[in-house]
Amino acid sequence: MGYQIVIEKFQPSRNDILQVIDEKGQVQSEYEPNLSQIDLKKIYSLMVTARAADIKAINLQRQGRMGTYAPNQGQEGCQVGAGMAVQKNDWVFPHFRDLGLYLTLGFPLKNSYLYWMGHELGNIPPKGLNIFPMAVPVASHIPHAVGAGMAANIKKHKIAVLCCFSDGATSGGDFHEALNFAGVFKTPNVFLCYNNQYAISLPRKNQTAARTLAQKANAYGFSGVMVDGNDPLAVYVATKEALDKARQGKGPTLIEAITYRMGDHTTSDDASRYRSKEEVEEWRKKDPIQRFRIYLKNKGIWDPDYEKSVQDQTTSFIAKSTEEAEQTPSASIDNIFQYTYKDMPPHLKKQRDELELFTQEKKS
């Protein structure tokens, strides 16, 4: 596959959307990537794990074992597809609803669970993985990603930076300022927008009057491209091409991955207040896992035994991650004070000491 093929072809102005595997699991495109069986299996099992880990998280929340949580179902295709294209020294600035991406990059599920359970520890990446903590204020992490890209340019590192967000983020001032910087400084950024049709209750069409989100790239002097976000291979192909382009110093790309948030916005939300069952069911037919299973089956990779082994591994992985997360002690008093500055200033020491004293006295 040559350089910048799909980015040129699937420009928003052409209104054509890159799809490799259609809803029925059939290959519909000349752009099918040449992935090894191992990688294809990896994509499948990651999507399955993300799906199951998500269901587990919702259950944990219902049982009071986790805080407010943002369900992930339906978006595994774009997350895993994108994650597969990331290379070792790349940097990643994830969306807050990005479980599949985290898993694909090797971020421990335990940490993801820790985060949603309310531990700062969950924000710490494992060694060797350049991933930022998720940004809760929508769009606010996009400039960070561009800053990392600028830094890579300054340091002459041949790396790429992946930054993920959803449709809501495209309305934010930070999206605009960041993408404009990316264009001006020709940074090695790939902006992946999960257009999941909603920002809480606001449908995509009320988020912006632009026909597509991808066309917004044009305002910054670089290319936008549209892909079927429920097709992990389409997302993989476009993201890989864009990351390669970035690493080659050829500037940023905006990818709009069209997908759907199947669940509620968070566990505090009730999506039935603002969208119809029918709409949700329409999208269920486009499920990324389902179609990828058929694709693998057609390729002779998937069979019930394989499915069972994936399910078994997933189950034990999730159980272990849950257990580890739940056994993690919460932060100590010292711990919550210690990282305010590199060196704790006197007034903070005093506050910490007072709190420790008070806590001890209370106990005794």
Partner: protein, 320 residues
């Protein structure tokens, strides 16, 4: 409190067709806390407006609407997301009247849920009222009961200046207090003594009022009777009520969720020092959040003031 706020919104929108509501998810969804439930149906989508996700845009357009002649009520979904609108608030909403010597005004209410202790996500527990209290031209209002919430919100909407209206998340569904169905106002700028006492003055607001009340109750066992002032309007502050109480008790404790340094408690202590130094029998203490980022839920309990910490501080004050 949610119902009281909802009533105030609805009554004011009924009373004055210039009153409109805008923000993220305020319409179809009725607000993520349901404060604007039902209003879209009642007043239509030209007056109840679901906006794109852009806080500076929400406040900036509200300023334009207000200057044009409307009385917008803008909802910021959580106080932690207001900061991108900070420039619009500080540089424009607060200044337009002065800049044009009264020619243009900004009758705008910015509603936002604030505060913690509800095990919320990062950036969802902010209490940065002091940022707004130092901006000339703004008013800052915080109710602590449903009754006050309804009356203060009505007054804020009818006020001709921009009002930051902070809603204590913690109390949204607490307090089953009765309140009349009709519209009524509670004047801005007046504090309320919610508990009379002789021994010391506790100054607090919003979600810290029930905490202070609990603490005060506990203190009775120790034969200490605090007076509690619910500030209600943080800016401009009701300095008279504070000074009067301090002159009576001679001892002061300030309780707020925000970090201690440069929290509103600092200003309160400073002006008491200035105006009533020689009435003070003990240092003014502050029980507040610490000067750290609010911890995530697993350790947030360390952070927020609670009745035990208040008792501890009161005992210190009474030692003098």
């Amino acid at each position: 409190m949610v119902q009281a706020l909802n009533q105030a919104l609805s009554l004011e929108m009924e009373r004055d067709s210039n009153v409109i509501l805008l923000g993220e998810d305020v319409g179809v969804d009725g607000g993520v806390f349901r404060v604007s439930e039902g209003l879209l149906r009642k007043y239509g989508n030209s007056r109840v407006i679901d906006t794109p996700l852009a806080e500076s845009g929400i406040i900036g357009t509200s300023i334009g609407m207000a200057a044009y002649g409307l009385r917008p009520i803008a909802e910021i979904q959580f106080m932690g997301f207001v900061y991108t609108a900070f420039n619009q608030i500080l540089a424009h909403a607060a200044r337009l009247r002065n800049r044009t010597r009264g020619h243009y005004t900004v009758p705008l209410v910015i509603r936002m849920p604030y505060g913690g202790t509800v095990k919320a996500l990062e950036h969802h527990s902010e209490s940065t009222e002091a940022l707004f209290c130092q901006i000339p031209g703004l008013k800052v209002v915080v109710p602590s009961t449903p009754y006050d919430a309804k009356g203060l919100l009505a007054s804020s909407i009818r006020d001709d200046d921009p009002v930051i209206f902070l809603e204590p998340k913690k109390l949204y569904r607490a307090g089953r207090q009765e309140f009349p169905d009709n519209a009524y106002e509670i004047p801005l700028g007046l504090a309320k003594i919610v508990r009379e006492g002789e021994d010391l003055t506790i100054i607090a607001w919003g979600s810290m009022i029930p905490v202070a009340q609990q603490a005060a109750e506990n203190m009775e066992k120790e034969d200490i009777y605090p007076e509690i002032i619910d500030l209600r309007t943080l800016s401009p502050m009701d300095r008279d009520t504070i000074i009067q109480s301090v002159k009576k008790t001679g001892r002061v404790l300030i309780v707020h969720e925000a970090p201690k340094t440069c929290g509103l408690g600092a200003e309160i202590a400073a002006f008491i020092n200035e105006e009533a130094l020689f009435s003070l029998e003990a240092p003014i203490l502050r029980v507040t959040g610490y000067d750290i980022t609010i911890p995530m839920p697993k350790s947030e309990d360390f952070y927020f003031p609670n009745p035990e910490r208040i008792r501890y501080a009161i005992n210190k004050i009474m030692e003098f």
